[in-house]
């Protein structure tokens, strides 16, 4: 019973839901076309009437292709979502799980900046190549493990993170040159001809055909590995096939319309919720629902009159609208915890004592270098009595970097042990996202916000998010899968807000970017000391929970049998995670990923037991963040690369190396 994570307590027939959405889409289409007689409007679908008016030209070249594009893209994402969730046995999987979208995004950015000639071939080819490269990387990393789902998911996460971090660095330094790509990144369906559609439909047809061929064998993946093998299935071939088709479809869609959030996650889950059980049914209804969801959202957006100085990209809107829908869905789904064996294979390592010694030594070394070695107007120098003034700038950043590394690593370790899900991290839980949304709103509504105000608003955002998490999960007793889904919904909302803000091209976007990218730049002496104190308290208090943390990963039944108060344990741990994350987010921003990487790294190094896991993860978090902060300040001096980005790059590289050897 590893896959059947979702069972349903409410049954609708999927047909009813589909018909309802179809009716809505038709109504919106008719209302959009109301300025011209319907017959005339429909005729523009295949011809352009002779006395050419601008209205008719817009209907022919923009309205119809856009509607068709929405339907096609939605169907494609729905199909890709079902395939991903089936192969990876994870209801959180979505078409972009394997890094296709971020790979395509990075490919486009690099082409724009370094090889603009490539774009003359057409943007979609560059995007396809970028997506394919990311997917290739994921397959390479997971090859030795026969593409087993947890490894693929992790590899995909890291690929996403890696490409995302690189993209963020480029964006930070070349915001002006990349402003057009930000619109693509927010997913706009605007069309001005039939060319893109002609690119997409044959490829989508090919994808659907391949998916149909794979349908029967893919059903075997509902079983666990051993049973599937005993029925004679080659897991590797099946997985390569299933994921390959899903990735191909996603890459084609993304390359044309940009990143459309949520449809690929929601449509398959909606189809299941509405009662589609068999794989064939799920494919059909996910495609239909995906198409109709995207089309109706896009049509509704076009009806918003020209009151805003900017357009609302559809991709961002689907993500924003989808988040509440997903939250509602979560209360409807009855979810069971996947069995504990879902994690990575572990190996007991000898020499733990020596390893922790080396870790401590490295951390100390990195702190010393970061304090004493740096560049100035006249090149490299070691701090001496003449230049001791420079330390006043360095120590708060270093302290903040180390402390936030510790905090996030602790939060990540807690979360991964509580949920037994390798995808769990404070960033995924949405607490950072919630606090980031609040800060973005503050930056955009107040003309010149003070740091104190930003701090207050950020904390408030984190607390509200935590409240939402608790509210939506209290009744279910904080089931891990449900908790993570709630976090995914909040994070999706955050991504939507961010994409919308950046696509608008407002110069204040720079400020948002700078903060989002996880920089210690804004650390003040008092802030650094407070966060260091919080980190110390954090270490002490997490250690109090060691017994719970040792038991929880064994699964619900075992934990209850031993006498663990499940609900109370999860609530207290969750609250602790929330507080740790919020404090770290306020200092270094939401996108550091130390919380994801450090616990995994600690485990890979062999630190298995709760206490050792916590302490070593904290140490690794501090090590990554301090070295990242120093590197980030020196690499492109005088430009500074935020520590969070460098941390993602260093940690990610090491993580990939270890992952490939599993």
């Amino acid at each position: 019973m590893t896959t059947n994570v979702l069972t349903f307590n409410v049954r609708y027939h999927p047909r009813v839901l589909t018909l309802l959405l179809a009716a809505l889409t038709t109504f919106l289409t008719l209302s959009a076309l109301s300025p011209v007689p319907l017959g005339e409007a429909v005729r523009q679908l295949w011809t352009l009437d002779a006395p050419l008016t601008p209205t008719l030209a817009v209907i022919h070249f923009s309205f119809w292709p856009r509607l068709a594009m929405a339907l096609l893209a939605g169907a494609g994402l729905g199909l890709a979502g079902v395939l991903m969730q089936q192969v990876l046995r994870n209801p959180l999987a979505s078409p972009t799980t394997l890094g296709v979208a971020s790979g395509a995004n990075l490919g486009l950015m690099m082409a724009t900046l370094f090889a603009p000639g490539l774009l003359d071939w057409g943007r979609e080819w560059v995007a396809l190549a970028g997506g394919a490269a990311a997917m290739g990387g994921v397959f390479l990393l997971a090859w030795r493990s026969e593409l087993s789902p947890p490894v693929v998911v992790l590899a995909g996460l890291v690929m996403n993170l890696y490409a995302g971090a690189l993209g963020m660095v480029l964006l930070l330094f070349h915001q002006e040159a990349l402003k057009g790509l930000l619109i693509w990144g927010a997913g706009s369906l605007a069309q001005n001809g039939w060319n893109d559609l002609n690119f997409l439909w044959p490829r989508l047809l090919l994808g659907i055909f391949a998916a149909l061929l794979l349908l029967r064998p893919l059903q075997l993946l509902t079983l666990d590995d051993a049973s599937a093998r005993s029925l004679g299935a080659s897991l590797k071939v099946l997985r390569v096939g299933g994921l390959g088709v899903a990735v191909f479809i996603t890459a084609c869609v993304v390359s044309v319309v940009g990143i459309i959030g949520f449809i690929g996650l929601a449509a398959p889950n909606l189809a299941r919720l509405a009662g589609a059980r068999r794989l064939g049914e799920r494919v059909v209804y996910a495609m239909l629902l995906g198409a109709l969801l995207l089309a109706s959202t896009d049509l509704a957006l076009q009806q918003i009159p020209n009151m805003l100085p900017t357009l609302i990209p559809t991709g961002a809107a689907t993500a924003a609208l989808g988040a509440p829908l997903l939250l509602w869905l979560i209360t409807r789904l009855s979810l069971t915890t996947p069995s504990a064996s879902q994690g990575l294979p572990v190996h007991a390592a000898p020499h733990l004592g020596r390893r922790s010694g080396i870790l401590m030594g490295l951390t100390l070394l990195s702190v010393l270098i970061a304090l004493l070695l740096g560049q100035g107007a006249n090149g490299w120098f070691w701090v001496d009595s003449g230049s001791v003034d420079v330390l006043q700038w360095r120590w708060p950043r270093l302290l903040a970097a180390a402390s936030s590394g510790v905090l996030l690593a602790l939060a990540g370790t807690l979360l991964q042990r509580v949920t037994s899900n390798p995808m769990a991290s404070p960033e995924v839980l949405g607490v950072s996202g919630g606090s980031a949304i609040a800060l973005i709103v503050a930056i955009y509504t107040v003309s010149s916000p003070s740091p104190v105000m930003l701090l207050g608003v950020g904390t408030l955002g984190a607390l509200v998010t935590l409240g939402v998490l608790i509210l939506f999960n209290y009744r279910s007793g904080f089931t891990p899968v449900r908790l993570l889904l709630t976090g995914v919904a909040i994070t999706a909302l955050f991504d939507a807000v961010r994409a919308y803000i950046l696509a608008g091209g407002d110069p204040r976007g720079q400020q948002v970017l700078a903060w989002l990218s996880g920089s210690t730049y804004y650390a003040t002496p008092t802030g650094a000391i407070s966060i260091a104190m919080i980190a110390a308290i954090g270490i002490a208090s997490t250690l109090l929970f060691c017994r719970w943390l040792a038991v929880l990963p064994l699964g619900d039944e075992t934990s209850t049998a031993i006498g663990l108060p499940l609900r109370r344990a999860r609530l207290s741990l969750l609250a602790l995670v929330g507080l740790l994350t919020a404090s770290a987010t306020l200092v270094v921003g939401p996108l550091t990923f130390v919380g994801l990487l450090a616990p995994h790294l600690a485990k890979m190094l062999g630190f298995q037991h709760a206490r050792a896991h916590l302490l070593s993860a904290a140490l690794i978090g501090a090590l990554i963040m301090t070295s990242a902060d120093w590197l980030g300040r020196q690499w492109l001096f005088p430009q500074e690369i935020p520590a969070g980005l460098i941390a993602s790059l260093i940690g990610g590289a090491y993580f990939m190396w270890r992952l490939a050897r599993i």
């Binding site: 002006e176 900017t310 010149s448 110069p507």
Partner: protein, 291 residues
């Protein structure tokens, strides 16, 4: 195509010479730094001695002129200037846009920080630009140069206004990609220049605080009579894509050849950018009549 007359070259040349000769040397004179490109272009036009500006390479790519002298130090990102370097330079004052006032506490440990606003909502951009120039001139002891810059700009606009041919209302766009444009309207530099030249702006839809709206190309179809003004740079591949774009080719302005293309001008600039935009715009509008 726009034409450049000899006197344009003369004006440009004079500007260059002035900026190159004036601020160098003389270490005893006060040194200023700024994180903001709009303030940087104004300070250079005022011949104020600058020791540091943020993101100089990007300034040259996007603002272009006036050039920043070679001796000026690059301070790093506009949002996160390098504090150690800034402290090392020990400037007399740091000029910032209020947008970055969250840096004030940090920066004021190094030198007094002066936020100077431009492009505030609900205020007249043209007046704001002059006030900004005056305020900056006072602050860096260049009152005379500030008045000269303002007077020169006004004189230039008077001359250009006489030359401006009658034209349909302008629709000023900058391509983000082949499907999206920024359309410039109220509250922005380009609009302020149009007002001074007495040219109508076709785009009356709401704009953001920096005077532009982001729109799909289909939004342009609502202005069939407008004169289209495309402001460079065109993102790579867009020209080819537009040639194949049914919608773009069927826009009345495009079909009837009412499209002019202007070289890039910093759309969030101050008086120097306004001068450049006005000159290139009027030359481009005149060009079809020269044929």
């Amino acid at each position: 195509m726009r034409t450049l007359e000899p006197r344009h070259f003369a004006v440009l040349l004079m500007g260059w010479v002035l900026t190159l000769v004036s601020p160098l040397g003389n270490a005893a004179s006060p040194q200023w730094v700024t994180l903001d490109w709009t303030l940087a272009e104004t300070l250079i036009a005022l011949e104020a001695p600058l020791s540091g500006v943020a993101q100089i390479d990007a300034y040259h790519a996007w603002v272009g002129e006036p050039r920043i002298p070679e001796t000026v130090v690059d301070l790093g990102l506009r949002t996160q200037p390098n504090l150690e370097l800034l402290a090392d330079l020990a400037p007399d004052a740091i000029f910032i846009s209020p947008m970055f006032s969250n840096l004030t506490a940090r920066l004021s440990r190094i030198a007094p920080v002066e936020p100077l606003p431009l492009y505030q909502t609900d205020s007249d951009t043209w007046q704001e630009m002059q006030e900004l120039t005056r305020k900056l001139g006072e602050r860096v002891d260049r009152e005379r140069q500030a008045e000269t810059l303002i007077a020169a700009t006004k004189a230039l606009f008077d001359r250009l206004k006489d030359r401006t041919p009658t034209t349909a209302p302008l629709l000023m766009v900058q391509f983000m990609d082949e499907r999206h444009v920024r359309v410039f309207g109220k509250n922005g530099l380009y609009h302020a220049v149009l007002e001074q030249l007495g040219i109508a702006n076709a785009w009356q839809a709401p704009t953001n605080a920096w005077g532009f709206s982001l729109a799909g190309i289909d939004a342009l179809a609502a202005y069939p009579d407008a004169q289209l003004v495309v402001i460079e740079p065109l993102p790579i591949g867009v020209e080819a894509a537009l040639a194949n774009s049914g919608l773009w080719q069927h826009l009345p302005s495009v079909r009837e050849g009412r499209v002019i293309t202007l070289p890039p001008v910093w759309s969030f600039g101050a008086l120097p950018s306004a001068q450049r935009f006005a000159r290139t715009l009027v030359s481009a509008l005149e060009a079809p009549h020269d044929d």
